[in-house]
């Protein structure tokens, strides 16, 4: 890898030489992509400086979805925080619920029942399938294949129906709460899940034919948006983006939480780290998650699903600090929780996987890309603005 910046510090590749662009020379044009633009993920803005049709410089603007969650949580009791944590990230709220519950349980030393762990893992895997399926649809849509977007959204709806049966709501489930899960699985849930998984696998066959064997897609995504292996540590790349670039990080394997040490799976690593390779890896992740869901449903023991908590209105958590992490669909998501022994959390910091992907890494990757590919590159990083600004 050659550093554009000219200095050879591997930890600090090229920020220093943000290209000196003379806007007065009429050679460059500054255009804004977003926030009102169909080609950005969520509500964020890209300030692109282009020369002809190639991007020379890019600045990412976030903050359009800032609600101040970390501040709001500081003035709510622990149980009052629970309904708002899932709102932090729209595509995958369950990971936020789980991490908040796990952080509180760890600080307070609560052991949850065995069956609750399995149900939590089941919910997280279903949420991963839903999030990645929607991501794959968005990826195809960004390159003009709207049909796959339609298929993926429809199949995600089947998963949302499962969630609705489980928790009563399609998007924000509020199902995983400190001390276990809200209630047991509904009767016949396993059979319904199996039927949905078959549909998802069928969808992946179709996606293979229409997306991955498509000559246009291969031509456009080949070599687009490569993440170099050397960038993983300096930029803090996690999740599927890192696993494509030769990393082997997977929280499920490295720091087994819930029941992942009892499930049989391998970390999937990709050989190509361009947009095509990342989409391919996500397809494999979906299939692996389907397999994990089947394993979980097969091995799930019987028993209670909730442990008794102290009175939630007077639940005091001993003072201390902790960090818990989980592998979300896009990478490692973590919660840092500091408690001062009172009924209110002192500080909760949400570390979403998009934080460095969308800000530091994207500004670096996008230089030299043509305007038409910006949307595709952006969706291939699977950024989610609400967890950047919270």
């Amino acid at each position: 890898m050659t550093c554009r910046s000219g200095h050879n510090d591997p930890w600090y590749p090229s920020w220093a030489d943000r290209p000196q662009v003379d806007l007065e020379s009429e050679k460059y044009l500054k255009i804004w992509q977003g926030p009102q633009h169909p080609g950005v993920t969520g509500n964020m803005a890209l300030e692109l400086t282009v020369e002809g049709d190639l991007v020379v410089d890019c600045k990412v603007h976030v903050g359009y979805l800032h609600r101040g969650f970390e501040k709001l949580m500081e003035r709510r009791k622990y149980m009052n925080c629970f309904p708002i944590v899932c709102r932090i990230c729209v595509p995958e709220p369950d990971f936020n619920e789980y991490l908040f519950a796990a952080a509180a349980e760890e600080l307070d030393g609560i052991e949850i029942p065995e069956r609750a762990k399995w149900i939590r893992a089941l919910t997280l895997e279903l949420a991963r399938i839903a999030s990645l399926t929607m991501g794959l649809g968005g990826q195809a849509g960004a390159f003009g294949l709207g049909t796959i977007g339609q298929w993926c959204i429809v199949h995600r709806d089947y998963l949302l129906d499962l969630f609705e049966e489980l928790s009563g709501h399609r998007i924000y489930h509020m199902y995983i709460l400190p001390g276990g899960v809200r209630h047991d699985l509904t009767p016949g849930f396993a059979e319904k899940t199996e039927a949905v998984l078959r549909k998802i696998e069928k969808l992946m066959d179709d996606v293979q034919k229409v997306l991955f064997d498509n000559a246009v897609i291969i031509a456009r995504t080949n070599g687009l948006g490569v993440i170099h292996n050397e960038w993983i540590d300096p930029f803090g790349i996690v999740g599927t983006n890192a696993r494509c670039a030769g990393g082997t990080r997977d929280v499920r394997k490295d720091y087994p939480y819930l029941v992942y040490d009892r499930l049989d799976f391998d970390v999937i690593t990709g050989s190509r780290s361009d947009v095509y390779g990342r989409s391919l890896l996500r397809r494999d992740e979906i299939l692996m998650a389907c397999d994990l869901v089947r394993q979980i449903l097969k091995n799930m023991p019987e028993g209670p699903v909730r442990t008794k908590l102290p009175n939630p209105l007077h639940w005091k958590i001993p003072a201390g600090e902790t960090y818990v992490r989980a592998e979300s669909g896009r990478g490692e998501m973590g919660y840092f929780m500091a408690s001062d022994g009172s009924e209110f959390p002192r500080r909760i910091h949400v570390r979403g996987p998009s934080y460095t992907h969308a800000m530091a890494l994207f500004e670096e990757m996008i230089r030299g890309v043509s305007i038409a590919d910006v949307a595709g590159l952006m969706t291939s990083l699977q950024t989610c603005p609400p967890e950047i600004e919270r």
């Binding site: 806007l23 009102q36 509500n43 903050g63 359009y64 979805l65 800032h66 101040g68 998007i171």
Partner: protein, 218 residues
């Protein structure tokens, strides 16, 4: 509109509110349209008025601007399962093509500025639908320092859909409500905005401190 509450809180003198010189650099003044919108009176002839309302109600195009998390329930609407095209609705990429602005949930101050800009770029007839409880009274974020609590203080809202977040079925119910209003000639949000332009502008300027729009160099 009850303006009594607002007056004593105005941070800037009222006569300066609409003058561009107060907040724009001289070279930027030409970049902004300074004309205030004018109310469009419906036709006096009943049959023409009814025809216009009928036509407007059956081609409501949605502006594809996901301003909040409610936007994630918009995508299932366009798929075969809910199929919003049955109602003559379809997402449009630019404000100039669209007639219905769906505020998808909480509007932070930074987004509010873009919402105002997009709304003013839309052509008449235009309608606004507030989606989610957070547009009604703040919802979950009632004590947040960065989200707008009452959307109808800043842009006129024709219909609200409550819920956090509303299901696609309730969205369809909201669309039907909007269509009924249009057919009855009661969805007069744009005229309301034009008539009470100063009031809306004053409210907007009160929360949007950094009023300068992004720098363009065309």
């Amino acid at each position: 509109m009850d303006d009594r509450k607002m007056k004593h809180r105005s941070p800037v003198p009222e006569e300066e509110l609409l003058s561009p010189d107060a907040f724009l650099a001289p070279e930027e003044r030409g970049l902004f349209c300074q004309d205030r919108p004018e109310p469009v009176e419906p036709s006096k002839v009943k049959i023409i008025r009814d025809f216009c309302n009928w036509a407007q109600a059956n081609s409501v195009f949605i502006l594809a601007f996901g301003t909040g998390c409610g936007a994630i329930e918009m995508r299932p609407l366009f798929t075969a399962r809910y199929d919003i095209s049955r109602y003559g609705m379809f997402p449009r990429p630019t404000p100039r093509m669209s007639g219905l602005f769906i505020i998808g949930g909480y509007a932070s101050v930074k987004t509010m500025k873009r919402i105002v800009r997009s709304y003013e770029q839309m052509q008449n007839p235009k309608f606004v639908m507030g989606l989610g409880s957070c547009t009604v009274n703040g919802g979950m974020y009632w004590d947040s320092y960065n989200t707008v609590k009452r959307l109808d203080h800043y842009i006129p809202v024709d219909a609200y859909v409550a819920g956090c977040m509303p299901r696609p079925e309730s969205l369809i119910a909201g669309f039907n409500r909007i269509k009924e209003l249009i057919k009855a000639g009661k969805a007069e949000g744009a005229n309301e905005y034009a008539k009470n332009f100063e009031w809306y502008k004053r409210n907007q300027r009160r929360i949007i401190k950094d009023w300068n729009m992004p720098e363009y160099n065309w």
